[in-house]
Amino acid sequence: MNIVVVGLSHKTASVEIREKVAFAPTRMEKPLTELVALPDIAEAVIVSTCNRVEIYASTHDAAGGMARLKRFLADFHGISLDSLEPHLYSHHGEAAIRHVFRVASSLDSMVVGEPQILGQIKTAYGYAAEFRSSGIILNRFLHKAFSVAKRVRTETGIASSAVSVSFAAVELAKKIFGDLSDKTVMLIGAGEMCELAAKHFLNSGVRGVMVSNRTFERAEKLAEEFDGRAVRFEDLFDHLHKADIILSSTGAPHFIIGARDVEAVIRRRKLKPMFFIDIAVPRDIDPKVNDVDNVYLYDMDDLQGVVASNLQQRAEEAKKAEGIVDQEIGQFFKWLSSLEVTPTIVALRSRFEEVRQAELTRTLAGWKELPPDGQKRLEALTQAIVNKILHTPTSHLKQTGQGGRTDLYVDALRQLFELETEQPQEEDLGELEE
């Protein structure tokens, strides 16, 4: 049995291509059932996110399987394979395992370490389980991928720091204020960045939002959107002391908030800390504001600096993560190869032979008046019994080996007779419920 992966991602295809081959999450039954109906394809899982579309499958014929999956992707979406082919990648065997482990651990993501991808793969696996397109191999494979991802997440710092400007701002605020639930954010000016950051702050549970803008109507509209309060731009300094976090992005050509202003405001606040985030270019807030006691000012460059150093840190952590992936591949590959027919037959035979020998020795040891050719006869008899018993299962295994689901038999046999294989632990089966 072989595991194959065919797909495309942000690394190989532009969004125009990716959206053409995306699968709608509400309509997964059709593609999944069609996939497993294909010859050569035993099991299939479809992962479709905005950054990647991938099919994981188990097959007897790696090359044939990959070709079929490519053709399927093109046909299903009604595009020509020729135009799709240059964007597709395909892996089989160890490379396929490595690919999926890396994807699940977010090592292949656009932003390395972003946490969504694992959830997306779990959802994809959920569909496959629901429509019964996943079987013994992919089940175990994906569970293994989840546990690898979990190990990577807990043993490396790959996802521990913010890598977007607005998240970096939220993390900084948490380091200043601790709990944000009794804090108020003030937006000065309006801009996409500003709104995005405000949303992040709201998601982190800040108490309220105030919006101030030169055009009051705009402020009102935005305030409504955030369930906040609009403040007239002229009255800004009458309200500034109520804000703990100030996000500023006006189009003003000069500083609108100076150090003196902030000194007055902070006194009014009884020195309660303030966090100014200046994402305007040119800047809105005089950099000297950062020198005021209990006031912290970060501008766009500062935030980008934070992000850059976090990214660098992630890159270092990613190296550790690759090491973990390497370890786990070996373990999983061992289990996968144990599903091969021939070694299983060999193992089964030797298990029977073991039993036969043991019983024979025991019987012969206590048998005093054994006729001269007795031992030979007993040998022949037991040998014949073993051969007869093993004949049918062996030939079945060999036959199904030509294209059926041998992995099911092999796995069952190995478990029933306790034939030695290194079984991956099942510790992570509960993970899906997360």
Binding site: G178, L271, N290, Y296
Partner: protein
Amino acid sequence: MNTILFYSTLTLYLVATICYMAYLLKPRPILGRAAHWLIAGGFLLHLAFTIARYFEAGHTPITNLHESLSFFSMTIIGVFIIFERKYHVFILGSFVTPLALLLMLASSQYSSVIPELPPALKSKWLFIHTTLAFLSYATFAVAFGAAIMYLIQERFLKKKRLGSLYQKLPSLDMLDDINYRCLTLGFPLLTVAIITGAIWAETAWGTYWSWDPKETWSLITWLIYAALLHGRLTTGWRGRRAAYLSIVGFFILLFTFLGVNLLPGQSLHSYERLLGGKYR
């Protein structure tokens, strides 16, 4: 027996402090947990040592430097454990336990012979006055640790150098809060300690207040913390200013505790004098 307890405590504190230091460098949660249990175990041994010594001597073991340093160390660890549990910050230990360890090491350098206490001092006030005083010292020691952490973290945030230590240190708000809690706990304790001291002085020496150096310096310490508490409650002194004052206050406190012994003028509280038994 006592010696075994003392050195077992010292060893546990040493190992725990090493763990806390390692935790500072490598943020493995296991290190933090290990350090926490080691220090808790050390504290129990320390408590056992102190109680054993109490029964052996017949009074609170706080009458010479060996005992006092050890007692101070024990109260610091006790108060620290409470704060560590309340705030779930192992890293506080990296800044507080070294102090307790140093005190224990200093204590081990002094003779552990149990001194003969003059009858004037044998009273329940010895226990009440000194225990209260050391509990207040201990909370101020934790405030001192939190203040140092605050200043470090504040500097990182202002200078925008957000390295791995920055990641590990808790938020400014939490550090300031620890500082504030310590102050609101330590200040009343210190106040009551001074008052009980005065009452005891009246019964033992016949005067409430005699401007003994220890008394004077206690008053200075008290004034510093009173100023800090006042500033916090009225004008909102917080953050850096509060942190600096906590550090200054703690150094003065240390002087009150130890330095007074070194002053040329003889203090009634000086440990040698205590044992000399010559009073006025």
